[in-house]
């Protein structure tokens, strides 16, 4: 109270702000945005990702061919005015196929990446908040999944998922993409748990789930957003690898992975079958990871491991 009385309330506080508007304290999100705006990587990634998404949505409109059309007069032709990306052995238009495949890969990536981050956030927060035996068990489980390469588990589980639709693949990818982030969230939660506002909530009798969802997850949300962005690229990579070897997306569905697998045999003699879908894939994943990396730097410019 004494301190409050000593402080003149109105003018002295207002004045410096009015005199030097540049010194006005900025909010955290504004600071992050300002940092992001100055990173060329962020713009390259954002524009790249935007272009890919727009192309996936509207790319088929100017094209004369649908992805199921067969042009029997131009089988195995190289890129030309009629077939922009060339055609396959049976006359499928590679341009149309690439767009349809890209759509599926993008949907899978955009859903599986954030889903994996959500799992990472919940499991990591639980492990860090509860501590003790729960924590030990979860950490052991995470280490176990890190010892077994998840690609091998995907392949092992694929007989089950082949019989389901491609939507099941999203959940499969999310189910094995959360481990490393969960460890990071756990470490963050362990320090948050000792903070006064969490203690206060706990002593007021707020339940564990409410504390995690209201107080812990919002405090680690920046980490989760970064992870979700980086996870989009990772999920697309995992999906294409699985589909390439025939364990992921099954015919008649098309994804970039199945397209690359179809073009693999002719990659050396007729490179357009392989190079165009591969270039789109690299473009998409690269854009997503540039955005994620820029976000990571903007949110935490001093963190050692992540600094750029």
């Amino acid at each position: 109270m004494e301190v409050l009385n000593e402080l003149p309330i109105s003018e002295p506080i207002e004045e410096p702000v009015a005199a030097r508007p540049g010194k006005k304290p900025v909010s955290r999100s504004r600071m992050v945005l300002n940092r992001l705006r100055r990173m060329p990587r962020f713009w390259v990634g954002l524009v790249g990702l935007g272009l890919v998404i727009l192309w996936a949505i509207f790319g088929l409109i100017p094209n004369a061919w649908n992805f199921t059309d067969l042009d029997v007069y131009n089988m195995g032709s190289s890129p030309s005015a009629t077939h922009w990306f060339g055609t396959s052995d049976i006359g499928e238009d590679i341009y149309a196929q690439t767009i349809v495949g890209l759509r599926k890969s993008l949907i899978i990536g955009l859903l599986a990446g954030p889903l994996a981050s959500l799992i990472a956030g919940i499991i990591g927060a639980f492990a860090g908040y509860l501590g003790g035996a729960w924590d030990k068990t979860i950490i052991w489980f995470i280490d176990l999944l890190l010892v077994l390469p998840s690609l091998f588990l995907f392949v092992l589980l694929s007989p089950i998922f082949k019989s389901l639709s491609w939507v099941a693949l999203i959940f499969l990818l999310a189910a094995f993409g959360w481990m490393i982030m969960a460890r990071v969230i756990r470490a963050q939660t362990m320090s948050l748990r000792e903070r006064d506002f969490i203690k206060a909530a706990r002593f007021m009798g707020v339940g564990t789930w409410t504390i995690i969802s209201r107080h812990i997850l919002p405090n680690v949300s920046s980490l989760l957003i970064i992870d979700a962005t980086l996870g989009v690229g990772a999920a697309i990579l995992a999906e294409t690898t699985l589909s390439f070897f025939g364990f992921g997306i099954q015919a008649p569905d098309v994804s970039l992975g199945t397209l690359l697998s179809a073009g693999q045999g002719a990659a050396v003699t007729r490179p357009w079958l392989f190079v165009f879908p591969a270039a789109i894939l690299v473009w998409t994943v690269l854009s997503a990871s540039l955005v994620g990396d820029a976000l990571r730097d903007a949110v935490d410019p001093t963190s050692g491991v992540n600094r750029d």
Binding site: L146, V147, F152, V155, L157, F244, L260, R307
Partner: protein, 327 residues
């Protein structure tokens, strides 16, 4: 230091053992080895199929725990990993294939680690210069490619190179030329020629990840006070960077190496398949396609042992670099 390494080793050993056992249980629940017999024409009788499956120890009518126990007893008492679905011993299959995979893995990992560390240090020392930007964007691009794409792009490039030179300088199908005549040197040269592209592919993937990580670890160290102290007491810039900078920056790298090794293993398996090598990666994928539980568990055991070795090695490096562990 010895105590620390032994403790870590035991931790890894338990993890590897549990990973192998759970792989066995998981494979037994998912794979259905009986299906391949029922698909035959004429269809064998149930008794025959049961007898075959019992002989392999993979009969789904026996409880999983019982099968796991007999698999374990077999492993401990006779050192055997059971038979594959083609009635060959899993161990002899693995012995024939392991060398192929290990050659690729060891060469690829060592090159990746050395190149990644050098590029990372270089990028950190010359931060934001042209060379650093090139290294950064190149590693981002490589990290954005699945390893099979890298392998196939390398094949396209090698074909172009062979066409330009007019000779078959780089071969990339299989692990050696079948039916090649000539002495020992010709064989070694042939295998080396086949090894080039897969090794480059694996090394590229690894080096891209390591260089990013090494760069940030190095940037952290460069701003530390002890580098300035080393400079001010008269060390040259190079010597301060190497003795005090790189050495400290390698400590987090050794941990990262252990964690990323599973990714390297998966990448190596994919690259083996792309270059049609008959290694452990192909063995694992085939085992799943043929519903071969014993072979799959054997392949996972192989990977688990490699993770165990890589983890222990990186802990030894950690202990050697970080004096706090030694006391």
């Amino acid at each position: 230091m010895i105590g620390f390494i032994i403790k870590r080793f035991i931790n890894y050993a338990i993890l590897s053992a549990i990973a192998t056992l759970s792989a066995y249980v998981l494979a037994s629940m998912i794979l259905n080895p009986a299906a391949r017999y029922y698909g035959r024409n004429p269809r064998p009788s149930d008794q025959t199929v049961n007898a075959i499956l019992d002989g392999l120890g993979v009969n789904p009518n026996t409880p999983v725990i019982e099968r796991l126990w007999s698999w374990l007893v077999n492993l401990v008492t006779r050192g055997s990993l059971g038979d594959t679905i083609h009635n060959t011993s899993v161990l002899s299959e693995m012995a024939a294939r392991a060398g192929t995979s290990l050659r690729l893995l060891i060469l690829g990992t060592v090159i990746a680690a050395v190149v990644g560390v050098i590029l990372g240090v270089w990028g950190a020392v010359r931060q934001y210069r042209a060379s650093d930007q090139i290294i950064s964007y190149a590693s981002f691009t490589i990290l954005a490619m699945p390893s099979f794409v890298i392998g196939i792009l390398l094949m396209i490039l090698a074909t172009g190179l062979n066409n330009v030179l007019g000779i078959q300088l780089i071969s990339f199908t299989g692990e050696y030329t079948p039916g090649l005549d000539g002495g020992w040197w010709a064989q070694v040269a042939d295998r080396a020629g086949h090894l080039v592209l897969p090794t480059i592919a694996l090394a590229l993937v690894g080096a891209a990840g390591y260089s990013r990580y090494q760069r940030s670890a190095m940037l952290d160290v460069l701003s530390a006070d002890y580098i300035r102290t080393a400079r001010s007491k008269g060390r040259t810039r190079g010597s301060a960077l190497v003795r005090h900078g790189v050495r400290v920056a390698l400590i987090p790298m050794s941990t990262y190496f252990a964690y990323s090794f599973a990714t390297i293993l998966a990448g190596a398996a994919v690259i083996e398949l792309v270059f049609s090598w008959h290694g452990m990666g192909e063995f694992l994928f085939q085992a799943i396609q043929q519903s071969d539980i014993n072979a799959f568990t054997g392949a996972i055991l192989f990977n688990a042992v490699l993770v165990l070795i890589a983890g222990t090695l990186s802990d030894i490096v950690y202990a050697a670099l970080d004096p706090r562990v030694r006391v």
